[in-house]
């Protein structure tokens, strides 16, 4: 990349010089300080009033908003109830009880063998019809799931299988997107990693309006999104 690298750094300097030339700035140091402070400040903007409610109401709001964008939501009391609940869901949809499952610690401790579920602990393959994974959080404001990529959570699980089953704890349902970034930053600080490589915010199923502006679901990603909320744990 020898010659191009030179052109590139020339291009970089030229663009930055042109940008700076177009701006009127009295004091460069003041501007630099303003930028540094802004980047470190994480100052929140306006938070919608709809989320100024208690935790129980947030869970309801989340479920309501997720259902409004064609997701289905069910509740279980504890993680141990997940295999039967997911098997029931698949049976009701006439789907095979066979799924790829993310190697997430919160899903590992569950005894799947007691149910009819046949789960494969790995990243999804192209022909997996069903994928199960664990959310990092869920945002009540718009019924949005938050998935954080990592060794225990392949991002492709959110997109390759036709049916996506996402598990979230009721205590992980938060009000706003900003709450989510705070939690992700804190998790990052705890583990020594920066933010996850991929953060997916998922609001409903895959959809398109590209043929005559008529809304159709399931074009490239999941045709069905089922969310299981675990009340305890």
């Amino acid at each position: 990349m020898g010659e191009t690298a030179e052109v590139m750094s020339e291009a970089r300097d030229a663009i930055l010089a042109r940008v700076k030339g177009g701006l009127t700035r009295d004091d460069d140091d003041v501007a630099r300080r303003a930028v540094t402070e802004r980047l470190a400040g994480h100052t929140r903007g306006l938070q919608p009033k709809r989320i100024a409610i208690d935790q129980e109401a947030l869970v309801d709001l989340f479920a309501e908003n997720a259902q409004a964008v064609d997701a289905t939501v069910s509740f279980v009391n504890s993680a141990a109830d997940l295999p039967d609940a997911i098997a029931d869901y698949l049976r009701s949809r006439n789907m095979p009880a066979q799924a790829a499952i993310a190697p997430h610690p919160n899903l590992d401790g569950i005894d799947w063998s007691a149910s009819t579920m046949d789960v494969h602990r790995r990243a999804p393959k192209a022909d997996d019809r069903i994928g199960i994974n664990r959310c990092f959080a869920a945002v009540a404001e718009t019924g949005t799931l938050v998935m954080a990529s990592g060794p225990d959570s392949p991002a492709t699980m959110n997109f390759l299988p036709e049916t996506h089953i996402a598990v979230v704890a009721a205590s992980e349902i938060i009000g706003s997107y900003e709450d989510m970034w705070d939690r992700l930053r804190n998790a990052g600080r705890a583990s020594g990693e920066a933010l996850p490589r991929t953060v997916n915010m998922i609001t409903g199923t895959s959809r398109t309006g590209d043929i005559e502006q008529t809304l159709q679901t399931g074009v490239h990603g999941p045709k069905a999104l089922h969310i299981v909320v675990v009340k305890e744990g």
Partner: protein, 474 residues
């Protein structure tokens, strides 16, 4: 510095033929019942919507006032998270950068998420000319790639096609699949899923655009509904994100404020199905994701807008809302504009990036009704900018001679109030005498351009100024 396949000079011919295109007219009629009506509903269900618009404007103004510093910060953050940043002064440099990355990968299949910058720089024909196969994976972009046409709407690129045309294209290009009837939209969707899934799996490089570049974290953000953008950037070995330099925002918090107005303005959704933040390449222990992550920052004329009357267009977040609201776009569609960017925003961006002489018809294609500014989430004063370009057009002698002479004549009278009053009251008197009975004229000397398509109302009585002069004084 140019916009790929620019044909804005042919605006008159193209808009005339668009008006005669029955399929296009049928599709455009649905715009206001769909996108625009849904936007109104989404706005109504979020009481803070207008305050969020104001907040978004403040964020973008601050960012643009410190654009060089935020671009430097973004570059440093991308590097810190293991990605690479490339700077392109113009379309030629951007294409060369993409090509070099693809060549180093020995790429054959290159999947693409929807990217307007990709359209702006004409990346597809360029990669094809170098022996690679670029595959558009957004359904609308895939349809127009099969048809070999440019997008006609920022967020709904195939809006000019109806289901019959899509079925014909699919049947022609998917000979190995069952032929589809025009009413079998589900079937066409299934076919697109089948065909493109194979491409996703064999792609060597994935190219997407970016809705935001976050200076704080070095993340690129894509906002989509289909999930194609994610499969494009997750499955191949290399992800390239193409973005204009104006896409940078300071922090995650700033991004979320703007996000709250983006989908609501675009499709009327509260949130698009998939909003994805990406930083760097695959990390230790990751089970998927690209090994390499590149961001190409494109200037292509953007920096020269700073400090000019059209600087505010750099706030644009490409929601397409102004197209949906525009009565002119609603009649002629996107292709008439002859540019990657159509509608009101295109009438500003195209002459801004490519030069007014290339696109001076576009700022004329407006009644200055102001609906674009009214709905714009970024409150961009588009009508003011259109007037600016119209002034430039006259000042630089690009306007037709007859229009310039007419305006000069009017200006000569207007700067002589006494003469102006005499002339207008004479004209009013004559027109009103001849036209009072019918109330309108179906033809008039020197007004043929008007009366060829509609009648001119005749004045009733005396002119305003003479009535004003004779009003009872208190």
């Amino acid at each position: 510095m140019t916009v790929h396949n620019l044909t804005s000079r042919n605006f008159r011919e193209k808009s005339t033929s668009a008006l005669e295109d029955a399929v296009l007219q049928g599709n455009l009629v649905k715009l206001k019942d769909n996108f625009l009506a849904r936007r109104t509903k989404a706005k109504a269900s979020l009481p803070e919507f207008d305050d969020l618009r104001d907040a978004s404007v403040v964020i973008k103004k601050h960012t643009i006032a410190h654009l060089d510093l935020y671009l430097e910060a973004f570059e440093a953050s991308v590097k810190a998270s293991g990605g690479q940043v490339h700077w392109a002064r113009d379309d030629t440099e951007a294409r060369a950068i993409v090509l070099e990355i693809c060549k180093a990968e020995n790429a054959k299949t290159v999947t693409k998420g929807k990217t307007m910058v990709g359209e702006e720089i004409g990346i597809n024909p360029f990669l094809e000319a170098h022996g690679m196969t670029p595959i558009e994976t957004d359904l609308g972009e895939y349809i127009i790639q099969l048809a070999d046409e440019p997008p006609s709407h920022i967020i709904a690129p195939a809006i000019h096609k109806n289901r019959q045309q899509v079925a014909e294209l699919f049947n022609e290009h998917h000979p190995h699949l069952e032929p589809r009837d025009a009413d079998d939209v589900d079937g066409m969707l299934a076919d697109a899923r089948t065909v493109l899934r194979e491409e996703f799996l064999k792609a060597d490089v994935g190219i997407t655009g970016a809705n935001f570049l976050i200076a704080e974290t070095g993340q690129t953000v894509i906002v989509t509904n289909e999930g194609n953008g994610d499969l494009t950037q997750l499955l191949p070995r290399v992800h390239i994100a193409l973005a204009g330099i104006e896409k940078v925002v300071p922090t995650l918090e700033d991004t979320m404020t703007i996000m709250r107005v983006l989908a609501r303005s675009a499709t009327g959704q509260e949130m698009s199905s998939y909003t994805t933040f990406s930083a760097g390449g695959r990390r230790k222990g990751d089970l998927d994701g690209p090994e390499a992550f590149h961001v190409v920052l494109l200037d292509n004329g953007r920096s020269k807008l700073l400090g000019t009357p059209t600087e505010d267009i750099l706030r644009c977040i490409r929601c397409g809302c102004c197209l949906n609201a525009c009565p002119v776009y609603g009649k002629i569609g996107g292709h008439a504009y002859g540019s990657t960017y159509s509608g009101p925003v295109g009438a500003i961006l195209t002459p801004s990036l490519a030069g007014l002489s290339e696109a001076h018809h576009l700022p004329q294609a407006s009644s200055l009704c102001g609906r674009c500014e009214e709905v714009c989430p970024m409150r961009i004063p588009i009508p003011k900018m259109l007037r600016h370009f119209r002034e430039e057009e006259v000042a630089s002698g690009m306007a037709p001679a007859s229009a310039r002479r007419g305006i000069a004549l009017w200006a000569w009278f207007a700067s002589r109030p006494g003469l102006y009053r005499t002339m207008t009251s004479l004209t009013t008197g004559v027109l009103s005498r001849f036209g009072r009975k019918r109330g309108r004229f179906s033809s008039l000397p020197m007004a043929g351009a008007w009366t060829s398509t509609r009648d001119l109302a005749s004045p009733q009585g005396r002119s305003f100024q003479s009535q004003w002069a004779k009003r009872p004084k208190s």
